[in-house]
Subunit: 348 residues, 2 copies
């Protein structure tokens, strides 16, 4: 992959949590690779979080932004350029930039603040790279149309299965194939909990507490363990890969909260492993979507996944069955998926 | 993925063996998908095999080409347009086209006839999609430079691991990552034989005969079972993905011909599985390349592969460890990888 020319890119970042901070760190650690191998120079000209925003046309100090967060401070505390009364969307509306990175928390109620930021960025002619599922779940067709009208691109590989190029694989590598069945372990928290219960005999509550202590589950894990995170990813894949849009409320969703040691033992006694699977089945006319528990044979490509893994299998008409799996110890790979999209934007 | 406009593409095909024929079949079976979803219309204006060539500016009948091969005839027998004294390279030199598909047999001695065809196509301003490893193994830098000078592209996702997007994954999805270790089961024949020996207690000769009967090994299987096919793929990945070119003769290569049931039993008694692995290890300054037998723990991502599978794992600095595996029952997925490259060429 090579770039057409050396290119300074002015970027905005909305959301400076686990993924956003790691994305910023990658822009520092990979600056030389981006410059020398890909011709790309990223300049952070604006950044917003829930505390406010900081913007400077000549570029902010990325180390300073990371340090502020490490001290528990927000962007409003950025020297000289920080402001506490600026909302993220206003920053996107006011600051000149080429590219918006969106990594704010996924809000399935109304998609805000991410949705408004993405709309504003696209309307202003910015490319958008998002790791935030909710705006896509709520407004995929509108956002994609808007990007097309504006002649810019909206990329979202980071929204599904962390650092695994699940979207790219389906969208690009299988563009001419018919996907007959897609099945994935798309939520790391659920897979972590189930696998720990199975392998170490923990109860659901013990495994959840362990996941939280290890940083693999949120304090409020409900979106993950009740299946809505996986279902959100399925909505995105339905639009972006399968070309058969489904709405979140149309998906049959079952979480893992009812799983007991007894259930796992019973499955094991039949040589099966229980996994939380998100799937889409082509019936010849449309896909049938489901998120729920499946009892998999030991030889099933998703049966052997370890606690810190996610994976997706595409069963196709002309490209065989392709499974891609990732081991993801931290949120760095998810941040790297944002960087992957940035590279894609400017690659030849 | 969408196309900038409806695009008729005049294509040449060199090599009408197992992969070439299946590629042609895909252009028929997927014509509607290519047209309606991707805006792409493929017209075969020339085709060559060892018997000769057929060319017609207004397009050949692809069904007719496939039928000829099914009757054991070559392209020289194509009505009106077939000629027996035309070499493939001459056809590429003489016929007006936008795109060359190269699927002739891999000849590691001098790369011909594929190498000459690819050079000629690039020099004439054609994009090239190849499933033929030898020209890349022998002349990767020259061909890539030539494509760049001519403002065209040379794509080769079909050369490594059949229908698995092994090249694409490394080249595009991991463009900003450092690959610390790459390891793959890249040769289906070897994996088929080893797995059958392990699982069904066959001797090497029995498993080889079974592979040949099932169409998963050539009559002369030496390139596969002696490791040179895997090593060729490693050379291509070294240039195309790792940016650390290695020559075929620099790779330590061990085949599977010496494997016995006793060896596999001994490995099994230690809880290990024996796989033929192609690998590249980054030592901080360069990669160390190897093709040979590895004793893998049962939990290793490549240990559980079934007979008709290939796979690759990329261990990276920022994108975790990503494994992609394919189940490939026939050469159709390899042909689909050529179609994938064609779609990539003309996608937005």
């Amino acid at each position: 992959m090579r770039m057409s020319k050396r290119l300074p890119v002015r970027m905005l970042l909305v959301g400076v949590g686990g993924v956003g901070q790691r994305f910023l760190r990658l822009t520092i650690d990979k600056a030389e690779t981006l410059r020398s191998q890909l011709g790309l120079e990223l300049h952070l000209v604006g950044v917003a979080d829930s505390s406010g925003a900081a913007a400077c046309p000549s570029g902010l100090d990325v180390e300073r932004v990371i340090d502020l967060k490490a001290c528990g401070k927000g962007m409003s505390a950025y020297p000289t350029w920080g402001q506490s009364c600026v909302e993220a969307r206003s920053m996107v509306a006011d600051v000149e930039a080429d590219l918006l990175l969106e990594a704010s928390p996924s809000n399935l109620v109304d998609g805000q603040p991410g949705l408004g930021c993405i709309e504003t960025g696209l309307l202003r002619g910015m490319h958008v790279v998002t790791a935030n599922k909710a705006p896509l779940v709520l407004a995929f067709p509108r956002l994609v149309d808007l990007a097309r009208e504006q002649g810019v691109r909206l990329l979202y590989d980071a929204t599904v299965a962390g650092g695994l190029p699940a979207v790219n694989l389906g969208q690009r590598d299988l563009a001419a194939a018919r996907i007959l069945r897609m099945e994935g372990v798309l939520n790391l928290t659920s897979n972590y909990i189930l696998t720990r219960m199975e392998e170490d005999g923990l109860s659901y509550q013990e495994a959840l507490a362990d996941a939280q202590a290890a940083g693999h589950a949120e304090t409020d894990p409900s979106l993950d363990v009740e299946g809505w995170d996986s279902a959100s990813k399925l909505v995105i894949l339905s639009h972006g890969v399968l070309r058969d849009p489904v709405a979140l409320e149309e998906i049959e969703v079952e979480g893992i909260t009812s799983v007991t040691k007894e259930l796992l033992d019973e499955a094991a006694s039949q040589g099966k492993r229980v996994k939380a699977i998100a799937s889409a089945d082509w019936d010849g006319e449309a896909y049938r979507y489901r998120v729920g528990l499946s009892w998999l044979d030991a030889g099933h490509p998703l049966a052997q996944l370890r606690p810190k893994q996610m994976a997706i299998t595409y069963h196709t008409d002309i490209s065989g069955s392709i499974t891609a799996a990732i081991v993801e110890e931290t949120p760095v790979p998810t941040a790297s998926a944002m960087l992957r999209d940035v590279v894609d934007l400017y690659a030849d």
